[in-house]
Subunit: 237 residues, 2 copies
DNA sequence: GCGCTTTCTTGATCTGAATCAAGTCATCTG
DNA sequence: CAGATGACTTGATTCAGATCAAGAAAGCGC
């Protein structure tokens, strides 16, 4: 957990992000000069909900779980994969975090002071536009997640999740789950026990699971059951 | 459902909105000149999910239900009250609507062409900042809604909703529900039948309901059950 | 006023999903 | 290697909430 200024070798990864790709060099360097990079072991809590947002975070490698708690219960809200930012909204509005974050595995995370982000927002028109676009994107993702939760049963959510992963794996009929089942369960809003049963319940639709390896026999068959909808399942729109 | 350019008498209401209050007069007038105002009867569908977003909408009077459908099911996502905008994210990203909108009652709605909004965003630094701030706010609202859904039972959601309304009514111990119970049920993610039962289940905590009139006997008692949390229930943070 | 519709309530029943409890399996550790 | 640990599965049970069905109350048109 060593803390240091950001090495220049990390610049290109960040520069590639939609959020930073269009801005002026000068402003980009301003952000980078104020930034830190830290390496974290697995299961370290990076952020606690309710704390004030001092840094915009960027996952450079590994992965980060965003979760929330209330009254002794806990739920996964989403996962941040490289290379992407998280808690942008709190940074922008200088408001307390609504979610906690912890590393799922060994992870490398960049930290840009929130005040730098807000300052550069005022100075760089393109950066401002990128932030707006990113925020709108984030907003739309949550809306989709909410529709998914309110309109579908847990079995339907799993089926659509599998279709999404299948697509993301390059439209092959076999792929590996990207995380352990207990977290997948929480993401899908169900218990681990029920996820187990849900996988079995999808067998009649041609879904076979072995460990974390999934095989889909007949995509059309599964689609008939899952009824995927771009307004819920398509991450790009 | 007459369509006209916006009368100047509506300008002040809109100008007061956080989104428009800081921008330059000139830019504000540009937006207003391109805008329309329409009067709608109750239960008219203003927007259908999936359509492309040609206008930023502003409720001037009445109220608008934002809802979504999938596979024959339907759910209320939120309600837009005067004076506020809706579907800002779709407008900004020039993306299809994720939610449909219908008037709940006779309503007056202003329409600003999306391309004007995007153009002025580039021209007015203060407007850009206001949009970002508004979007971040919207994002955070949905996150809160999602935490509410995933972490609480329907009874807990109702209890916290009542506390929120009580606060909004000026901390008095009696107030009226702001909409009909079937919609409240949908907003809280439950059926009308269950909402009925939930009200009865809150009686031991001092909640009395008569029609749409609510009386809370002992606020502390209800709070002990509801365990309100600013990171879920406080609309301002 | 009277019918008509719609909302709301209440009870009975059903179901999806959580919980509880064991047991399996794989991995890690001394 | 034995024992511990943690992830996953499976079955039995419970529970929250949905659905179904019917009646009560309230609003509305004529």
């Amino acid at each position: 957990m060593v803390r240091l200024g950001m090495p220049e070798s990390d610049y290109p990864d960040i520069r590639e992000l939609h959020l930073f790709s269009e801005m002026a060099d000068e402003q980009f360097m301003t952000l980078m000069r104020g930034a830190y990079v830290q390496n974290f072991p697995p299961r370290i809590e990076l952020i606690t909900e309710g704390d004030s947002s001092d840094f915009l975070h960027i996952v450079l490698s590994g992965s980060v779980d965003l979760f929330s708690s209330w009254s002794g219960r806990e739920t996964s809200m989403s996962t941040a994969w490289p290379v992407s930012t998280f808690i942008l909204a709190a940074t922008i509005n200088d408001a307390p975090y609504l979610m906690s974050a912890r590393t799922l595995e060994k992870s490398r995370v960049a930290l840009i002071p929130s005040q730098d982000v807000r300052a550069v927002f005022g100075a760089d028109q393109r950066f401002a536009r990128a932030i707006v676009s990113e925020l709108a994107q984030c907003y739309r993702s949550v809306i989709k997640a909410q529709k998914n939760l309110k309109l579908r049963s847990s079995l339907e959510r799993l089926a659509n999740y599998l279709l999404q992963q299948q697509k993301q794996s390059g439209n092959v009929n076999e792929f590996d789950l990207r995380f352990e089942k207990r977290r997948l369960a929480s993401l899908l809003g169900m218990t681990p026990e029920n996820l187990s049963r849900a996988f079995k319940a999808l067998r009649p639709y041609g879904v076979a699971i072995d460990g974390n390896h999934v095989r889909i026999a007949d995509l059309e068959d599964l689609k008939r059951f899952a009824k995927p909808d771009p307004l819920i399942d398509d991450p790009s729109t």
